[in-house]
């Protein structure tokens, strides 16, 4: 569904992209309306929810719906790497940045690179999104350093500006610019919580795993298994999630269920597929593994 990144930077490709299929997303509640309303008013949004429940898919879907061309730029710290450089700054409607604990402010804003005898300023992904007036999606924001999160503050209020210190500039955000963060409140320790000054600049949309029937439909659609298997996978997912807080840090995500479905679709026996895609993926604890094994063998023949 997503084409290789490099072809997307050419304008006509992006035009083409808009014509391709809509990302598959099944709304569970009113999240689509909420997001549209927020976008209309340019209110920054936080997505909360466990891993693999569809946050990223949702933002892709929304960017498509809002008529935004979609671009993914994996945050790339290496200065010499051509992918990060070879971009046309004008067109960058959805920028997804996966945050990690070494993500610095200059990784977001931009930096000087040495080219030949001179240094060249290269915009960071955030800067590009600001200029292009697209959606900037910061995934797993709590992983990033505190100084990074402070950087986004002026972008989230009425100012809508990004100070580019090193160049001595203030960038005004483009019309369509919207900042979206995601975070998973489940496994963050107290140390890594979002500061209130940050979180109170956003509205929060909570995500959870979809209800069993919707999830079964999603699994069926994404993996291509038949409805029965999809149903059973969704059921297993629910059962495994019941074990959360009982030795399981995080429940089996929809993504894992889809993986299992895909394996089954490729001819792997269901029990085995669930073992590798779900059981072993969610835990290393032997007892929990055995429990999930028993759940699997109860559900799958």
């Amino acid at each position: 569904m997503t084409s290789p990144t490099r072809t997307l930077y050419r304008s006509y490709i992006i035009e083409e992209y808009q014509l391709t299929q809509e990302p598959y997303y099944v709304p569970v509640a009113d999240e689509v309306e909420l997001f549209e309303a927020a976008y209309a008013q340019k209110i920054p949004v936080i997505f909360k929810g466990p891993t693999g429940c569809g946050k990223t898919r949702f933002i892709e879907y929304m960017s498509y719906r809002l008529g935004q061309p979609l671009t993914r730029v994996k945050q790339n710290p290496s200065p010499g790497a051509p992918e990060a450089v070879r971009t046309d700054d004008d067109i960058m409607p959805l920028v997804t940045i996966a945050c990690h604990e070494d993500l610095t402010a200059s990784d977001l804003v931009g930096r000087y690179l040495l080219q030949g005898n001179e240094t060249v300023w290269i915009d960071g992904p955030l800067t590009r999104a600001v200029k292009a007036g697209g959606i900037c999606y910061l995934d797993e924001i709590v992983e990033a350093r505190k100084d990074t999160t402070v950087l986004i503050h002026p972008l989230t209020d009425h100012r809508r500006i990004l100070p580019v210190e090193k160049k001595g500039e203030l960038l005004e955000a483009g019309e369509g610019f919207l900042l979206v963060l995601s975070y998973n409140p489940g496994y963050q320790s107290a140390l890594k919580d979002l500061k209130h000054s940050t979180r109170q600049r956003f509205i929060s949309i909570e995500f959870d795993y979809p209800p069993i029937d919707i999830e079964a439909e999603i699994v069926r659609h994404e993996s291509g298994v038949d409805a029965d298997v999809a149903n059973q996978l969704a059921k297993l997912g629910g059962k495994v999630r019941n074990l959360k807080e009982h030795g399981l840090g995080e429940g089996a995500s929809t993504r894992l269920l889809i993986y299992a479905g895909q394996l089954i679709n490729q001819g792997i026996p269901p029990r085995r597929a669930c073992q590798v895609a779900i059981n072993w993926a969610v835990t290393d604890d032997h007892t929990v593994q055995r429990s999930i094994e028993e759940l699997t063998t109860s559900i799958f023949e």
Partner: protein, 1092 residues
């Protein structure tokens, strides 16, 4: 001639005058009784013999009198020549001691009835042999004669001889003991069967090795031997004898224990076990008792052949490591358990509990607990079968051991099916029955029925007052439902079958994977079912329904006359088998099936009047009640079902439950959950009026779920008891139950304040037995409690007292806070270009040298991620006062004057603040305060715990501050209440702290152990290695921590600490403080060092 004899006799009588009167009296009495045919000559000899005895010494007349007295009886047993030999023996004895002779004569009449004539002399000699001329020996010998008749009843003469020689040997040690054994002997020998020689032999052997045990040996022997298969007793005693020879101690006790163990084993296995024991004797006598005891424990899990393999494994281990082997046979080692597990085909609840509990939680999606059925029975709230699986609404109870099939997989499969079925009750809502909830399949009849019923029962002429409504005569919806039926037992049985059938169908529908195992279990359940043809009609139809629910659809016999009804039942029952049906559907179905069955008289049916019914047809259209049904229900509503029955029909009896489905008690479960809810709410806002004890007892009385016959005692009492237990049970799960806070051991400084409510948490840990080189599985129970709260002033005053130190420490610690960012240069990639490096690179380029590309810099975040657990020894020894030296004598020494003493004592017992001396614990507390203060400055994650306890079942673990708890006033208060408690079992406490740290999310994890001495506790030792055992367990616990990347450090104030800390801490850090007063400062210093 005759006259001559007579005159001789008279002469003899003359001589009696020389002796006290009884001699003559006895002679005369005896003379009359002597046989008539006795020759006069013999008479004279007899009379003379007596005189001869009497003449011997001053006291021998007593013997003579006794002689005459018993003569008539004795002579009846034997010819005269033997009689004279008997006399002679008495005479000889009398020479030794008249008392002895008296006893001899006295015992003779009875003894002679047992004794062969030729043994008379030998018998007398036995008595004589015990007599050593002393008073005590004489008593013993006399007793011997007195007990002889009784002894000879059970002993042969050679055995008696052995026994005497044993007594003789024992008498060298203690006459009293010998006398007691003699007395015990006569009680014991009849009990021990044919192997007395061995028994006496063992007793004799004991005299040499441990004569003090002989008496208890006799006592225990009497108890032990009857428990053993008769043919094996001899071997058992031989083994015991070998143990004695092998230097075993406390043999009587060992015998008792081993025989007890054997008695728990099938007698047919005794021989094999003893054979193995005999072989084991060659390896290690000490292991034999353990082996036998172990056998008893494992026999219900292993077959005899498997026991042998277990034995061989043990012997192998024994050869390598005697202690390990011993622990193996005691089943106190992890290895032993794993061998057992591998050998046994049975599935033990304990082993699979964690997995299955999680499985059940997964299925149900709620906080289900898993427990053994025994636990439920022991609660005394209505469940009586400890074998049946069941549930009471929040916990699933299962049998402790499943050993029905030859393979482990099959047994596990059964277990899984059983648990799944119980969880299904919860998952698919068996207990969420609501009377007013409509059925999805049937037309709802419940409400109508109830109305009719109530109207019928209302006394004539009494109008229902509008608005007041019915008095609520039920507590639970389930009860309300069952109130509809006259025959509760029948209705409950039908409901159970229908509902279980529904669940089985649902489970198989929802969980295709378990279908195969489920079908096997269902098919197997058929085996145990009663023959339908042998049952009276009503029971037969219920059984018919059971078969249906077990998914047998063809050839179920039904009475010829009632085939139509059977088909109706089938039709109704099968409609509930639907993935969407609810418990309400099951209830409506019950209503209808009950109506059908209740209308049929419960009569026996002759064997030829049965027909097999095939029910394998699909029903199509929606269910509507046929006309007959209307009628039947009408009858039901009028309570007519009972009246219609003919006289002389047998009462309906419940058939056995289907085993894998276990006990189903919906009424009780609903009641329990209601009680729990009621208790959960505060009294004021409770919904509706609270349940009264009367209501409760009424429910219990009516409920068909309680089988009062199965409970001993009268019904009234057990109802009350059940009611009480139920209320207790309902209260059990309350979060704020103070019962949990206070353990069996109370704080020494306890003022009686209620403890802060804490989670009722207990944890089980293994213990390391270094001699066996293996873990003792699940050996210690750590009880975690939250420390009580005291006065926060202690915290403040400590900080005040240590003023200077506090500010210094705080400064030092603040300096430790890492610079959040450190600039790192010469990177290929970074935040920005470093001008210096860049200039260099460009210079290089210009001069044609290949430049370094590393001219970026970035700030690296250094995160301080420390989690520390402080484990503070709060054992009793920390109550010791610290000798400060400067203290004045009056301060410390107890005054002599009683009044002053009382005053002194009172001050000693006063609050810590008023205590004029410091205890170790006080310094520990101060150290805690300082460390808390310091750590709050740098923001490390830390937990503070105290530990103590008594025995392995009671390792107390007091939380002063949890790792993830924020520092608060409560923590301050808790510090105040740290007080000396009991012993020091370090291992489990360390393990518990380790498990806490393990969960913490930090790069550096530190476990600080602060103690005042070596680890010690009741049972925290092994024979011969008292101290090392505890030290090694502690070492292992620390080692385990290290393996989990936890840095452990021990700090002790015990001056002898160097002796054992070296072993205990192996390559971990430790430090022995010279003075306890260094503790606070040193602790902080070390902490800083460790975490830098």
């Amino acid at each position: 001639m005759e006259n001559q004899d007579r005159s001789t006799l008279e002469q003899i009588q003359e001589q009696f005058r020389r002796f006290p009167a009884p001699v003559a009296d006895e002679f005369e009495k005896a003379q009359a009784k002597m046989p008539d045919n006795m020759e006069a000559d013999s008479m004279v000899k007899w009379a003379n013999a007596g005189v001869e005895i009497a003449e011997q010494t001053v006291r021998s007349w007593e013997a003579a009198a006794q002689y005459y007295k018993v003569s008539p009886q004795v002579i009846s047993y034997m010819p005269f020549n033997y009689f004279m030999r008997w006399t002679q023996c008495g005479n000889d004895l009398c020479k030794e001691s008249p008392t002895l002779a008296t006893a001899y004569f006295e015992a003779s009449p009875e003894a002679m009835s047992q004794l062969r004539s030729r043994h008379i002399e030998a018998w007398a000699a036995l008595g004589n042999s015990l007599y050593k001329g002393t008073w005590k020996s004489s008593t013993l010998a006399c007793k011997f004669f007195a007990y002889s008749p009784a002894l000879m009843e059970s002993l042969t003469f050679p055995e008696l001889e052995r026994f005497v020689s044993f007594l003789d040997a024992l008498s060298h040690r203690s006459y009293d003991l010998a006398a007691e054994c003699l007395a015990l002997g006569q009680q014991i020998f009849p009990l021990i069967g044919d192997d007395k020689t061995a028994f006496i032999g063992l007793a004799t052997a004991l005299v040499d090795s441990g004569w003090r045990e002989v008496k208890s040996f006799f006592e225990s022997g009497a108890k032990a031997l009857p428990k053993i298969d008769e043919d094996q007793r001899f071997r058992f005693l031989k083994i015991a004898e070998r143990l004695v020879q092998g230097g075993g101690t406390n043999i009587p006790n060992v015998m008792l224990e081993t025989s007890q163990a054997l008695s728990e084993v099938d007698p047919e296995a005794h021989s094999r076990i003893l054979t193995l024991s005999e072989a084991l004797l060659e390896e290690s006598p000490a292991a034999v008792p353990e082996f036998i005891k172990g056998c008893a424990q494992i026999m219900d899990r292993l077959s005899l052949a498997q026991v042998e393999r277990w034995y061989e494994e043990g012997v192998n281990l024994l050869r390598q490591n005697p202690d390990g082997g011993l622990a193996f046979f005691k089943i106190e080692s992890a290895h032993s358990e794993s061998v057992l597990e591998a050998l046994s085909s049975g599935v033990e609840f304990d082993r699979i509990k964690p997995v299955m509990e999680m499985y059940c939680r997964g299925l149900a999606g709620s906080e289900i607990k898993l427990a053994a059925s025994e636990d439920l029975v022991s609660k005394g709230i209505g469940w009586v079968s400890s074998e049946s699986p069941s549930t009471e609404g929040s916990t699933v109870f299962v049998p402790t051991l499943v050993d029905r099939y030859p393979s482990k997989d099959e047994n596990f499969g059964w277990f899984k099916v059983v648990s799944t079925h119980q969880v299904a009750h919860l998952e698919f809502g068996s207990f969420s029955f609501e009377f007013d909830e409509p059925s999805t399949i049937f037309q709802d009849r419940r409400a109508d029925l109830e109305k009719n019923k109530v109207e019928k029962e209302r006394p004539e002429g009494e109008e229902q007052v509008e608005g007041e409504g019915l008095e609520r005569a039920w507590i639970t919806d389930m009860q309300r439902f069952f109130n509809l039926f006259e025959d509760r037992k029948l209705s409950l049985d039908i409901f159970t079958v229908v509902e279980d059938g529904r669940l089985d169908f649902r489970v198989k529908h929802e969980y295709p994977g378990i279908r195969a195992a489920y079908s096997v279990v269902q098919a197997d359940s058929h085996k145990g079912r009663p023959e339908i043809e042998s049952l009276p009609v009503r029971e037969a139809l219920v059984e018919f329904l059971v078969r249906l629910s077990l998914q047998q659809y063809d050839s179920i016999p039904a009475p010829l006359e009632y085939v139509e009804q059977a088909k109706q039942i089938t039709d109704i029952a099968r409609r509930v088998l639907d993935a969407t049906s609810t418990v309400q559907d099951a209830a409506e179905a019950t209503l209808r099936i009950y109506a059908i069955i209740a209308a049929i008289p419960n009569e026996e049916v002759p064997p030829e009047d049965w027909e097999d019914v095939d029910t394998d047809e699909e029903q199509q259209e929606e269910y509507t009640d046929p006309d007959e049904m209307e009628q039947l229900l009408q009858q039901l509503a009028e309570g007519m079902e009972m009246e219609l029955r003919p006289d002389g029909e047998s009462d309906y009896e419940s058939s056995e439950e289907v085993e894998y489905r276990g006990d189903f008690k919906p009424e009780l479960v609903q009641l329990l959950s209601q009680l729990r809810m009621q208790d959960g709410q505060s009294a004021g806002e409770a919904d509706g009026q609270p349940i009264t004890q009367e209501q409760l007892e009424e429910l219990l009385q009516n409920s068909a779920e309680l089988d009062f016959q199965a409970v001993e005692g009268d019904i009234q009492n057990s109802q009350g008891l059940f009611a009480d237990n139920l209320l207790k049970e309902a209260g059990m799960n309350l979060p704020d139950n103070p019962e949990f806070g206070q353990g069996p051991f109370v704080h020494v400084d306890d003022d009686g304040d209620a403890l802060e409510a804490s989670e009722p948490q207990t944890f089980v840990y293994d213990e390391w037995d270094f001699r066996a080189d293996d873990y003792k599985p699940r050996w210690c129970i750590v009880r975690q409690k939250t420390m009580q709260e005291g006065d926060p002033a202690f915290y403040a005053s400590t900080l005040h007292n240590y003023g200077g130190l506090v500010s210094r420490i705080r400064r030092q610690f603040e300096m430790m806070v890492p610079e959040t960012f450190r600039r790192q240069r010469k990177l290929e990639d970074g935040e920005d270009i470093d001008i210096d490096d860049l200039v260099e690179a460009i210079v290089d380029m210009k001069t044609g040298v290949s430049p370094s590309e590393k001219f970026y810099w970035r700030r690296n975040k250094i995160q301080r991620e420390v989690a520390a657990a402080f484990l503070v020894d709060t054992s009793a020894s920390t109550a010791e006062a610290i000798d400060e030296g400067k203290r004045t004598a009056d301060d410390w020494d107890a005054p002599d004057d009683p009044v002053e003493y009382m005053v002194w004592l009172r001050t000693r017992r006063g609050e810590a603040a008023r205590r004029s001396y410091k205890r170790i614990i006080d310094v520990e507390k101060e150290a805690i305060v300082l460390i808390v203060n310091a750590l709050e400055a740098i923001g490390d994650v830390y937990g503070i715990y105290g530990f103590s306890g008594y025995g392995r079942e009671n390792v107390e673990f007091y939380t002063i501050k949890e790792l993830d708890e924020a520092f608060s006033d409560r923590v301050k208060r808790r510090i105040d209440r740290v007080a000396p408690l009991h012993a020091t079992r370090m291992g489990p406490a360390i393990r518990h702290a380790t498990s806490k740290l393990e969960k913490a999310d930090a790069r550096t994890k530190i476990l600080f152990l602060v103690s005042d001495g070596r680890p010690q506790d009741r049972g925290y030792s092994r024979e011969g290695v008292e101290k090392e055992y505890a030290v090694h367990d502690t070492r292992m616990a620390l080692e385990e921590a290290r393996r989990k990347d936890i840095n452990a450090f021990c700090l002790t104030v015990d001056k002898n600490g160097h002796d054992y800390l070296g072993t205990m801490c192996a390559d971990m850090g430790y430090e022995v403080l010279d003075s306890i007063f260094d503790l606070p400062e040193r602790l902080l210093y070390l902490y800083r060092r460790l975490t830098m």
